[in-house]
Symmetry: C2
Subunit: 547 residues, 2 copies
Amino acid sequence: MQGLMQDWPLTVDRLLTHGATWHAQREVVTRSLEGPIVRTNWGEIHRRAKRVSNALKRLGVQPGDRVATLAWNSGRHIEVWYGIMGIGAVCHTLNPRLFADQLCYIINHAEDRIIITDTTFLPILLENRARMPSVEHIIVLADAERTASLKTPGLLSSESLIEAESDDCVWGDFPETQACGLCYTSGTTGNPKGVLYSHRSNFLHTLLTLQTDVMGLSVNDTVLAVVPMFHANAWGLTFSCPAVGARLIMPGQKMDGPSIFELLETERVTVSAAVPTVWQMLLAHLKTTGERPTTLKRVIIGGSAVPEAIVRTFHEDYGVQVIQAWGMTETSPLGTLSTPTPEIAALPFEERLPYLLKQGRPPVGVELDLVDDAGVSAPRDGKAFGRLKVRGLAIVGSYFRGDGGEILDARGFFDTGDVATIDPAGYMQITDRVKDVIKSGGEWISSIEIENLAASHPKALMAAVIGVAHPKWDERPLLLVKLREGETAEADEFLAWLEGKIARWWMPDEVLFVDDIPLGATGKIDKKVIRARFEGHVLPTAQPEKV
Amino acid sequence: MQGLMQDWPLTVDRLLTHGATWHAQREVVTRSLEGPIVRTNWGEIHRRAKRVSNALKRLGVQPGDRVATLAWNSGRHIEVWYGIMGIGAVCHTLNPRLFADQLCYIINHAEDRIIITDTTFLPILLENRARMPSVEHIIVLADAERTASLKTPGLLSSESLIEAESDDCVWGDFPETQACGLCYTSGTTGNPKGVLYSHRSNFLHTLLTLQTDVMGLSVNDTVLAVVPMFHANAWGLTFSCPAVGARLIMPGQKMDGPSIFELLETERVTVSAAVPTVWQMLLAHLKTTGERPTTLKRVIIGGSAVPEAIVRTFHEDYGVQVIQAWGMTETSPLGTLSTPTPEIAALPFEERLPYLLKQGRPPVGVELDLVDDAGVSAPRDGKAFGRLKVRGLAIVGSYFRGDGGEILDARGFFDTGDVATIDPAGYMQITDRVKDVIKSGGEWISSIEIENLAASHPKALMAAVIGVAHPKWDERPLLLVKLREGETAEADEFLAWLEGKIARWWMPDEVLFVDDIPLGATGKIDKKVIRARFEGHVLPTAQPEKV
């Protein structure tokens, strides 16, 4: 027996339409590439997004076609985002931090028909133009004059296109399962893979994030979206802000401490979201200048594990709540948050802190499981490791064009590639990547836990741990340390530093000092490169014993 | 092109499963019919609900079958609610405030196979047992001993059934469009009509209500659900509380001031939801005793317009925020809320108050339209009246068994039967029911506005206004007043009282003093009965002029 409720497809154009209908005057403020602060609002963005749709249709864009954006966070970027999605085309957000080869690979793989770009990224596109045969048009987010000044034949100006169109355009009117957005994973192993979001998954993800215990955005919030729109949909902020009529501040390309602080204060920001690096820059700026944020209440931090110093400084020095969030491109991205339960909230700060440093608990709609190599669920004791698997209403089912094959297990769970624990209070903590975990004598050693400890040594600038083949134990840990400038150290100093902090059998078999620890495009340590460098390395413990 | 995200059907069993998985120990506290406070938790409710499912299957319940409940709010009621829905059967909540004839009509219309009831309602069921041929079993929410003491052959004990079963049972595994709940409208005109909720609509409604600007429930909340589960799903609380792991307090059948106050304090309630009458009783109790709620932060009030005194007293005397909510059985029920926007929140209380007394603004997923008789949208100027129409993700599409025929207009909007205004800030205000509005000379007069004003006269206990046929103006208002005990009054006193407060052409053509103003099952004035009583009544203004 079927229910008899209305059929109301969950398409994301309705999120902006709601914002425009009930919160038309609520501002969207952008620090433009040109410098000045530009103000618009949800009503105006809605009208201009409809014009973008008409312009795209005039250029021949059909439902399902991929239209790429290569742009910083801005009101203009939101207009094209909805202009593309509203007519059933797919908004493919390109990450400008990728190398040219990766960018070309992704554009070709997606078969993008149009690229809409900030002027900033025009050089890399033009240099590689011949390598993007599917791309019919490049549109710059600029007015006619600025576009003309770029002296590039065939380049289209977004403002000219928008001015020429009407703001009357039918949106939606396709199934909610229609593709809506495309975002490629950073791909530390193999080629980048595309996650093809549906209207439904993005709409549902928006409702998830709006819960009080998740992002909890309100019409009373002013949200500074530092996390880029090309970074897993800006964690959904470009959907959730119009959905509740929150005021949205877009930082453009300036994410340094002084620029972020200026926006926080002049725009009276209440909530912000960004990766740890951004907050480190902001906190360094505050420390240097003695300035203080006066309206900021809450920061949502994700993308990589949040260092204790960030949580502590925000709490102790500025009274700002830190919510750690974990997720990935494949999870839309929100998977878990460190929001305190009543039991955790009641603890003194020092006892609460360890929970705030974990990745947290899932909202309804996200299911987590931890399984060992045999597929058995690990106990939630905060100690047992397992592969972290997820299932839910906004989790990837398969990659674009079937890359990677069948990625769900028999029960429909996606393997995140992370190794994690879950404690009795339900807080999940990522301890390593599955591929980086060191398998020693049938047990797992967390490379990340050792490298975080090593990196906290006063002489260390950075540390990395990889597993190296060992004849007896299968793998044993090798610790690489990059020292701070001017420092010298002995291996024993680091082993002594680790002593007592980790299990004895986790102790690295060798410590090497290196000049360079390679990083990937997203700023994370690139273990693939390190492993390649140390291929065939023989640990001292693996030497044939001297007779 | 279809998105490639997981297929994760939105079935409501997942809401409780989430609560049981991540908030197993969070309490559900019930004031039992027998008197004592009974404590359970989401984990235990989940296990017992699975046993209910197995018991129902053993009794032959199939997906789509209707299983009715006739019960106060309690942990046991939640267990059977999920036990029914989890296996794809339909939980039909019966309103015990209905008269026996209506109850029988509804049970027969729904073809309920089983009725699960509190002992309180056993007499009415047994008296009318012969009139319910579809009902195969009556289960009382009681243990074996209590059930035996009722000395009713064939009666089943819920506890006996539960004890006999395993808590292993597959839930879900059917399409999200599967029917899930059935609730009949109170039906002030014609027979009650059934709203058949789907799993999808209830799941989506849950996500809507969890938004910060809607009900904003959190794992840190203790929620007192006074609004009954048979009253439009307790406004979704039995879904939303397990979905976020909120602590839930169920008042059983005691909703008087002292009982509610006792629960508020002993259970440290932070949020509660109920109709105005409940709050009037509570506030009267507080005034009499001088007691104060110490943990309550927010009350959500709906079901009928919230009197100013309630908002003012909660705000001024107790620092409790009142959120007015509007909705109906057909809207799952949440339609709008009076949550302040930044502009309204910034106003001094006296200027903010008029907005708090309106029904408020819709969340995303609820679309409102106001149309005049010609179907043209009314301006949002706070003055123009229109028929209030709604469309959205949890709004009725058609009534059960097609009653009432096609109920959506060409654009898919449902006509609420209410007349409303929307002001420039987006706040909707219900001014009347369409059928109660008085059509005078082609213009609309709000019967409710006049009767509210008349009822505020110091001598009045209650007032009602109906339109009476008029040869010249089509209809003209007749004001009926029930005076306070011992009072006497002249018609002119009431006309003078209204003078200047309403438009001159809204002034009633006649004022009559009556001993009785009839109320319907939900406590609202029953205008159908009044109109029947005054059928053929001739207003003095309609008399043939004396020659």
